[in-house]
């Protein structure tokens, strides 16, 4: 595929954004590096006033009714990990109204066609990009991410993931022609001839169930994949992280209304505490698609109960690092430490188990004992978190009490490597900040390390050998799943064995990361996020399987 700049569509928004779309399409089939939305919040990129304007827009939401024209009383459920008062009051629209309005909006959106829908989706992404600082603040103060990370992961990279989903959807919807001519020879009789029309038809109403930590990054792929393929989307945020998705819904509705579409194609579904609106919506017969990121328990519930829908889930996993040997011991320790520290380990991709042979490993600094490997990683974490002001810009804050509870529970497991510290945030005195905890276990402690300890909790697991490390890896990930895995080795046979094990249990593998790429980061258009091939997720962000089922082709044919 080549990148063209001349538009092939008569839809103005499609033409306006077609170059971006073509570049996205080119990149997903090439899997190289590209980003449509700059991830540096620098004034040189976004202008001198952008940061302040975005902050002001964010602050205007606080303690107020959120500007969204949906019916219902108002409800506020968020509590900021940074300890600032939020009290944003959202319209509390009941499920019947949400489903009825979404269903009513479907036919015209379907009939608008691929280019109109894709053009509108691209315009929504552009509109959100105009408000990226506002989004970043919303992500920061609901999830606990530090600002730069909230800007990047919650803003620029989330938009890239949304664009990627639109590109996959566009490719899938246009792979077949809209019309075709068919002529079958019939011997001496005239040939049989038919004209055929192929309509893209959406599945129905889509439900997005957002998560607490990455509401936009994990939410945008499903939102835009469903919307582009013709499905109205009901966006049900996590009660602790409503604002990022409320902002998203606000601007999506704004664009849709401007283009003459029904804004109810994208609606916000907030809930009062304990209301369980996700379950009520997910089991409605009209809801035919559910996208979910969150706990294994609720993901399994959705898969078991939302049987009328296609259910895409990303759940818990046990991410694993295998340490066999390295030619850059300092780089390895620094790289692992960064992955453990970033957002206090509250990423679905953060490593948990670091498998190290009990006899130690060969490195460029000579043989290093197990204790020295553990100490090396601990020291690197200490370096990243030693200065409070710099440290909090990496760790951010703790998203909710569940993480604190786990951290307390893990504090006495096995042997100590590195204790978690409570840090006073220089700017937000009420912020809940913790540094990573590292404990040392043995291969026999599978009951402990064999499940997810979401948060700033990591285990150095002593194994008999790299062979046992591989066996532990295969066993745990095969049983519990994982979103990421990585291996450090200077031996090709070990790298090959790790890659083979990764294929067997279906997890993406990174090898010998010692520089500025981290195992918990995946790049839109190039890296797949999750595989759908192990228990941690039943889908991948984003591949053809992620979009192909969201629409159907209905054909009509008639003789010429």
């Amino acid at each position: 595929m080549t990148v063209t700049t001349e538009s092939t569509s008569s839809h103005p928004l499609f033409s306006k954004h077609e170059k971006t779309l073509r570049q996205a399409l080119d990149t997903i089939w090439r899997r190289g590096y590209w980003s449509a939305y700059p991830e540096s919040p620098s004034p040189r990129v976004y202008g001198e006033t952008a940061a302040a304007d975005g902050k002001a827009a964010f602050e205007a939401y606080l303690g107020a009714d959120f500007p969204l024209d949906q019916p219902g009383d108002r409800v506020a459920t968020e509590r900021s990990p940074f300890g600032i008062p939020l009290d944003v009051r959202y319209p509390h629209t009941d499920p019947d109204t949400l489903v009825a309005r979404a269903s009513g909006a479907l036919p015209a959106w379907r009939d608008a066609g691929v280019d109109a829908r894709v053009g509108a989706c691209l315009e929504i992404l552009a509109r959100l990009h105009e408000h990226i600082f506002e989004l970043a603040n919303a992500v920061q103060f609901t999830t606990g991410q530090a600002f730069v990370m909230a800007f990047q992961a919650g803003g620029a990279n989330a938009l890239d993931r949304g664009l990627e989903a639109v590109a996959y959807a566009y490719a899938a919807m246009t792979r077949h022609p809209a019309t075709a001519y068919w002529e079958k020879p019939a011997g001496k009789r005239p040939p049989l001839t038919m004209t055929k029309t192929f309509h893209v038809v959406p599945r129905g109403v889509a439900l997005l169930v957002g998560c607490n930590t990455f509401p936009t990054w994990n939410g945008y792929p499903g939102l835009f994949a469903s919307l582009a393929t013709g499905n109205p989307v009901i966006v049900k945020p996590h009660p602790g992280a409503v604002l990022p998705l409320a902002v998203t819904v606000r601007y999506a509705r704004q664009v849709l209304a401007e283009q003459g579409f029904d804004p109810d194609l994208v609606q916000l579904a907030v809930e009062a505490p304990g209301e369980g609106v996700a379950s009520a919506l997910a089991t409605r017969p009209e809801v035919r698609i559910v996208d979910f990121t969150g706990s294994t328990a609720y993901g399994d519930w959705l898969e078991a109960n939302a049987r009328q829908a296609l259910v895409y889930t990303e759940k818990a996993g046990v991410n694993t690092i295998l340490v066999d040997s390295t030619d850059d011991f300092a780089g390895m320790c620094a790289n692992i430490a960064f992955s453990l520290t970033l957002y206090s380990g509250q990423m679905c991709t953060t490593p948990q188990n670091i498998l190290v042979p009990e006899g130690g490993v060969d490195t460029d600094q000579g043989h290093r004992s197990l204790a020295e490997v553990a100490a090396g990683i601990a020291a690197a974490v200490g370096k990243l978190t030693g200065d409070a002001a710099r440290g909090v810009e990496l760790t951010g804050a703790i998203v909710n009490d569940g993480v604190l509870d786990r951290l307390a529970e893990a504090a006495d497991l096995g042997e100590p490597v590195l204790d978690s510290r409570t840090v006073e945030h220089p700017a937000f005195p009420d912020a809940v900040v913790r540094t990573p905890l590292i404990r040392q276990l043995t291969a026999a402690d599978g009951d402990t390390y064999g499940r997810e300890w979401f948060g700033p909790i990591a285990f150095v697991v002593a194994t008999a050998s790299t062979t046992e490390s591989l066996a532990v890896f295969e066993h745990v990930v095969g049983e519990r799943g994982a979103l990421t895995a990585s291996v450090y080795s200077t031996a090709e046979p070990v790298l090959d064995a790790a890659e083979r094990a990764a294929l067997t249990v279906g997890v993406h593998l990174s090898a010998n990361l010692t520089d500025g790429v981290y195992v918990n980061q995946s790049a839109a258009f190039s890296d797949f996020h999750a595989t759908g091939a192990n228990p941690a997720a039943n889908a991948c962000l984003t591949d053809d399987a992620y979009v192909a089922g969201r629409f159907r082709v209905v054909q009509s044919r008639r003789p010429v």
Copy 2:
């Protein structure tokens, strides 16, 4: 995409068949006419001895142990609708053995790579094509199809559908590169660079649950889609139509063994009467894909219980014809009559409900009353079936007693239009042959016409108007599903309304068929079969969604 003749692969079988594959790929994205396997059984196409050789090969199976090197005692369950003794004895391999052998065969098949697997699949299709007369006889004498239909639908067209699935699988697996180079600018520092490898990984063991009427046509898409994407396939035929799939498994295993692959990549799972082996296999944790064609009850059971697997089902539906007006009354009646008569209406695509306004319809022969429309269709059926010798070559025989029971039950419903007749088959005195039954109902008889009466049973349903016909169509198909629908009208607004209704309920629509294309026929590479958008099926044969979930991409990356 352009069709190239120069091979791009180092795999000999891939190169051997690449031109065929490229032509298939070109056609599926163009949706024009093409067939890889000639559907005329003429000696001018297949040679003077092909028909006799195939018949002899078929007859050699009868009353004997089927030549398949699988363990187990032998079991015979088939009874021919043509009344000839079959008594083919198949190896009765237990589920544990089948699953263990399939699982054991997986890694090497996965590691062989896309070209090797696709090459082998194409060779299997070519091998089956060499045995097309043998296959046609097997289909004829187990399903009850007349010979020419068995040759076409059960042989040539089934092979086309298999090839189509291989083409979709190949396209899906090769859309992403196998390796990529990624380079991200890092300001003044050197760029971050990674090499990435993308592995296609199968889901696991696949199970094909075959049907009684079209074991090959409905079975090959799932079989070849799963196999090409790396999944070993356990083929579980309907107890009444084992031979066509046993022949398929035989030659598939032959090709696999010749190529050095484990023949257990394709295994036959037969069952003793009442054994329920499909349920035992479908719920095994190792089984990750199930393809099924058959009853709604069992399809629903599979969807509810084979929860560890992707389940693709084609179930019952209520196919509908809307008659509004026509400029070719004779052509319309003849076309509908042919559809009702072909294989005694035992196609999942055979129309059941013919909705006609009670005031009659305008035609090229002037206004025709409801009674005249019904009589016109009945007369055309009579013409096709009046001569026994010619008639049986259309109707074939009745596949099983369930059809006879329904035919008896339907005989007194509503008002008579055309009675079913028992016909003596000139060549097979014990064949069970019946001509179509047509009864007249009213729109109020939804309890009767609102469900499937599989077999040679059709209803002319009197409606108040075409508007009511459309409402009945939407209601019944929305609730019960359909695989086909058609409309006759000379008025564009009616055709548009029918097309809109078809989109709403997600069913493929044919308009004004009066010549040699019939609503119950769909052409590989051009027509989609089923939509997945109504209760009659949750999948389409074949589109991207049908293949995309059968494999996953597992990525590995390392710094350059």
